[in-house]
């Protein structure tokens, strides 16, 4: 199954990846080849088969509602690209 360039750009936009035209061309090919590989799944009859979301059948454990974390803002923000007065900064969000 081949992907056209418009589909590539739509996916790139969803994934927030800059894709220049040359790379989009390559992706169209490569992703097409990968989809060809995974398209083998379509031929399998899976009627009545449950999806296996987790390999080991377990259920969610519940955590007691206790607040135990302390403030590590300084440590966390030491690796941040841009902070001021305890806030993370990003280019202005225009709405």
């Amino acid at each position: 199954m081949a992907l056209d360039l418009q589909q590539i750009q739509r996916v790139a936009k969803l994934a927030r990846l800059d894709v220049d035209p040359a790379r989009a061309q390559r992706y169209a090919q490569e992703l097409g080849a990968i989809l060809e590989l995974v398209d083998r799944l379509q031929a399998v009859d899976t009627s009545g088969v449950e999806p296996l979301l987790h390999p080991v059948g377990m259920v969610q454990r519940l955590r007691a509602d206790v607040a135990t974390e302390s403030d590590h803002r300084a440590a966390f923000q030491a690796v941040a690209p841009a902070v001021d007065s305890g806030l993370y900064l990003v280019p202005k969000v225009i709405e």
């Binding site: 996916v11 969803l14 990846l17 992703l31």
Partner: protein
């Protein structure tokens, strides 16, 4: 010192034949002398290693009940977060990321078990790759032939241990990333049952497939390290709450009566003849040790790769959404708008293979394709798991090749993603089914004047890692493939 097994090293440390500091310094010296040829480390943490060695030596002096890994220097795959040390995951995206916390595995091995950490091993970027060529820090070379790949994604861990730059190394396995590099470098690597090793602080690739493990010289060494890694972790919802086992104590069990299954599909077209011969010969050795081999069928096994290349990219595209340049990691310079910052930070911070998988994953999850791809892949995954469940009604362990062939040349497959993906054809199914699986050396194939290792894969039912290590250890008592060392790194 570096040629000794972990058991031997531990005994020597306890007998004060040499100190952990001396041992650690020895490995650090080897890294300095030899790693330029391999590129197996992204970060060497010499001072931390020596400090931890000193702490271990103090504990030896005090005596008492000492952990088996105390004072044994090991390396961490750079996928595990290490507090105060860059935790890059092989990516430019995290080149500046000094983790503010330790992964549970890191805490267990270093803080609890007292093993000095020599450094952080190179890897395919975000563990996406089978050759270690996708790392931001450059490819790792195979010590058996430095023109060849060590496999991936735990290629740095494998190369470092193969070259005896560390007594062992942690690794992770999403589709074969422990077993395939172990196979290509003549080592023993084990991926335990999904949920056995905590994923907390292990940077996620595909959450339902990722599992931490170890690459070592032997099943016995692997048992020593794995024993210190496993255990329930309340910070990981998928962590299994089961008592830990003494893998070392289980190694000596005789194999009499062991039922081994050889999946017909794993010996079909595509398997290199020399590899097939070596694997069948290994089965013979195990039969001589008392095991019985039969052929079994895993009819859906050839759907593993397609199912995997839907599920893994889907989960990866989601897991990697957090790398947006806001709170940590790479941020593109001079982005005028938020959207531009996102798109450029991610396009510049991630390498080509990671972006390719994000694109695939985003596509298969996107509107209109979810049922056809993701849901269908998870259903096929169920069929694959059921194949194993049926097989394990007849046999105790499965035996087959780890890879179709020995290590390939650097650059040989980088232009063709699909042929690279087919590298994991025999290893992926165990991840889809969450089974414990391991690779151990079972022979060599001579290519172009180089002896290249061949890997044997063992797979078992859930939570039977002790059994796998036992079989591997018994095999290694009867063979010496695992004792061979690459020329120039003895």
């Amino acid at each position: 010192m570096h040629e000794k097994s972990i058991k031997e090293l531990s005994a020597a440390l306890r007998a004060r034949e040499f100190s952990s500091r001396e041992l650690t310094q020895h490995f650090l010296d080897r890294i300095t002398a030899l790693d330029a040829r391999l590129n197996s480390f992204i970060t060497v943490t010499a001072q931390r290693a020596l400090d931890q060695a000193d702490a271990a030596d103090k504990r030896f002096a005090t005596g008492g009940d000492l952990p088996r890994m105390l004072g044994i220097p090991i390396a961490q795959k750079d996928i595990f977060c290490t507090q105060g040390v860059r935790s890059s995951c092989g990516s430019r995206m995290l080149d500046s990321f000094v983790a503010p916390y330790d992964a549970t595995v890191v805490h267990k091995l270093h803080a609890e078990a007292g093993a000095p950490m020599l450094g952080k091993c190179n890897m395919d970027e975000f563990a996406m790759g089978s050759s270690n060529e996708t790392s931001f820090y450059g490819p790792v070379k195979n010590p058996w032939d430095t023109a060849r790949v060590p496999g991936g994604s735990s290629g740095g861990s494998a190369a470092a241990v193969a070259a005896s730059l560390a007594a062992a190394a942690t690794a992770t396995d999403t589709g074969g990333s422990i077993r395939q590099p172990a196979a290509l470098t003549g080592l023993t690597g084990i991926k335990p049952t999904y949920g056995r090793v905590s994923r907390y602080g292990m940077i996620a690739f595909a959450s339902s497939l990722d599992q931490g493990g170890v690459i070592a010289h032997s099943a016995e060494d692997a048992a020593c390290v794995l024993g210190a890694m496993v255990g329930f972790d309340e910070r990981d919802s998928t962590s299994v709450d089961r008592p830990s086992e003494d893998y070392v104590a289980a190694l000596d069990k005789p194999l009499a009566g062991l039922r081994i299954g050889l999946p017909a599909e794993y010996f079909a077209e595509g398997l290199d003849a020399a590899v097939g011969d070596a694997v069948r010969a290994a089965a013979k050795v195990l039969e001589e040790l008392g095991a019985r081999c039969t052929e079994v069928q895993l009819p859906h096994s050839m759907l593993s790769v397609p199912a995997y290349y839907v599920i893994a990219p889907a989960e990866a595209s989601s897991n990697l959404s957090r790398y947006d340049g806001v709170r940590y990691g790479y941020r593109a310079a001079n982005a005028g708008t938020l959207e531009e910052m996102y798109r450029r930070s991610r396009a510049e911070g991630f390498g080509a293979e990671v972006q390719r998988r994000i694109m695939i994953g985003t596509y298969v999850l996107s509107h209109g394709y979810y049922d056809a791809y993701y849901l269908q892949a998870q259903k096929v995954r169920h069929l694959i798991a059921e194949d194993f469940a049926r097989a394990f009604e007849q046999v105790d362990v499965l035996l087959g090749p780890t890879t179709a062939d020995v290590a390939f040349m650097l650059g040989e497959k980088t232009g063709d993603p699909v042929s690279m993906y087919l590298n994991d054809i025999y290893t992926i199914a165990a991840n889809l089914a969450g089974l414990p699986a391991m690779s151990l050396p079972c022979g060599f194939k001579e290519v172009g004047g180089h002896e290249l290792p061949i890997g044997l894969q063992l797979m078992g039912p859930h939570f039977e890692e002790a059994r796998l290590l036992n079989v591997a250890h018994q095999y290694q008592q009867a063979t010496d493939w695992h004792r061979r060392r690459p020329a120039g790194f003895e």
